[in-house]
């Protein structure tokens, strides 16, 4: 699958740009964040303040939380999303080679990598499915 063409691809070529994946503010209620997450069908939501990445939350994070949370669901839903987000997620940059980012995904066993730009701003989301499609197309 690693063709000459695919070797030069960068994360920026394949990532979902801002506007194509869910981004919510840290103090959004968890229930609202889950609704927003559901609209995009990616299994992930990015939490961001002032264009900087504050954290992420995935379907798996929520599944694990459901087994752990001891408070009533009405209280859980009323929490700020940032209270339950992964606040130091693995990230990549838009200038990173796509194959390096895919190797990072493999190593960390994640399906998504938030993408940050030069100033640390959240500029995109590298989601595994478009990556696979791109690599298949270039094979």
């Amino acid at each position: 699958m690693s063709t000459p063409q695919s070797k030069t691809l960068k994360v920026a070529d394949v990532m979902l740009p801002v506007g194509r994946f869910p981004i919510v503010p840290p103090n959004m209620l968890l229930k609202e964040a889950l609704e927003e997450m559901g609209k995009w069908r990616l299994g992930i939501v990015c939490v961001s303040a002032d264009e900087k990445l504050s954290g992420i939350m995935t379907d798996g994070d929520i599944r694990r939380m459901l087994l752990e949370v001891q408070k009533p669901f009405s209280a859980f839903f009323s929490d700020d999303v940032i209270d339950h987000a992964i606040v130091s997620p693995v990230v990549t940059t838009d200038e990173t080679l796509l194959l390096d980012a895919v190797n990072l995904m493999e190593k960390k066993e994640v399906w998504d990598l938030p993408v940050t730009g030069k100033n640390g701003a959240l500029v995109g989301l590298l989601h595994l499915h478009p990556v696979v499609q791109t690599l298949l197309d270039s094979a």
């Binding site: 209620l29 752990e68 001891q70 408070k71 009533p72 009405s74 209280a75 009323s78 929490d79």
Partner: protein
């Protein structure tokens, strides 16, 4: 969330600061302004007790009791005359005053006079009331509705913030347990404090039995000292207790107001418990038990 302190008082009156780690503040007075003379007498008597105890305080009384159970019950002195009395009490005693409003059209006038405006518990989620409270630019004393969970109060807080208010005191006045009965869930204080705003315990409404007497609310005043000690030990920044020199003849909440003959005792205990709690936290550290995993 960083703990916020709020300051109550403008112009010439004493500035009263409420917040985490600060001395306990007392908020009280007769439920309703019954007459100018009575309001002044109560302010004088409460002021003397607070001075003796070394407790900062805010005078509370209402000019319109719109939530009475019966149309025949005393409704209040009225907006204009009531606010004149509160303004004169501010001037005479140098004490900040707070009063509630049940109609958004009363808010501006209330905020003109009062150092803090209060949102009644029954109306704590009404957007028009919260907007009007925020627009007074005064600190807002927001009571948790008896039907509300403490975590859902975040919605009311966010409404206030959206309308420009950043000074809120959140109070618990009990939670309905079935009909005509209230209970106090002490976990509501740390939960509401997570908003960052100071929290208050309303002791005299917490022992109320809403409309239990058919068309009048009953109450179990004998439990006031127990709940006060529990709430202050749990952790509150202010204590709210309505008081009266002759509860049986009180024109509002006769079954719940604390007879002023007990105020020094109960408030003195509350002050001591509060100071001991701060000492305990200083010695043992802040509460930091992690939630179950």
């Amino acid at each position: 969330m960083d703990a916020k302190h709020i300051e109550v008082g403008y112009d010439s009156v004493t500035r009263v600061r409420i917040g985490k780690g600060l001395p306990l503040v007392y908020i009280g007075g007769p439920c309703a302004i019954e007459s100018r003379d009575h309001a002044f007498k109560m302010a004088e008597d409460i002021g003397r007790i607070c001075e003796k105890l070394g407790v900062s305080w805010i005078y509370k009384s209402c000019y319109d009791k719109d939530c009475r159970s019966s149309p025949d019950s005393f409704h209040g002195m009225g907006l204009e005359e009531g606010l004149r009395v509160l303004a004169d009490i501010r001037d005479a005693f140098g004490v900040p005053v707070v009063s509630d409003f049940s109609d958004s059209s009363w808010a501006a006038a209330t905020g003109e006079v009062c150092d803090m405006v209060q949102v009644p518990a029954y109306l704590c989620r009404q957007t028009s009331i919260l907007r009007a409270a925020a627009e007074t630019k005064r600190p807002v004393h927001l009571k948790k509705g008896q039907f509300m969970s403490p975590w859902n109060m975040k919605n009311s807080i966010r409404k206030l913030e959206a309308f420009g208010c950043d000074r809120v005191l959140l109070a618990d006045r009990g939670t309905f347990m079935g009909y005509n009965m209230l209970v106090n869930d002490m976990t509501c204080f740390p939960i509401m404090a997570q908003t960052g705003y100071p929290v208050c315990f309303d002791a005299t409404h917490s022992i109320q039995m809403p409309t239990s007497m058919g068309n009048v609310s009953g109450g179990q005043r004998e439990f006031i000292p127990y709940l006060v000690r529990a709430a202050v030990a749990c952790g509150v920044d202010a204590l709210f207790m309505e008081t009266h020199d002759d509860p049986p003849s009180a024109l509002s909440d006769p079954n719940t107001v604390l007879d002023i003959q007990y105020l020094e005792n109960v408030l003195g205990q509350a002050k001591k418990v509060h100071e001991m709690r701060l000492e305990i936290l200083d010695q043992f550290g802040e509460d930091n038990v992690h939630p179950a995993k």
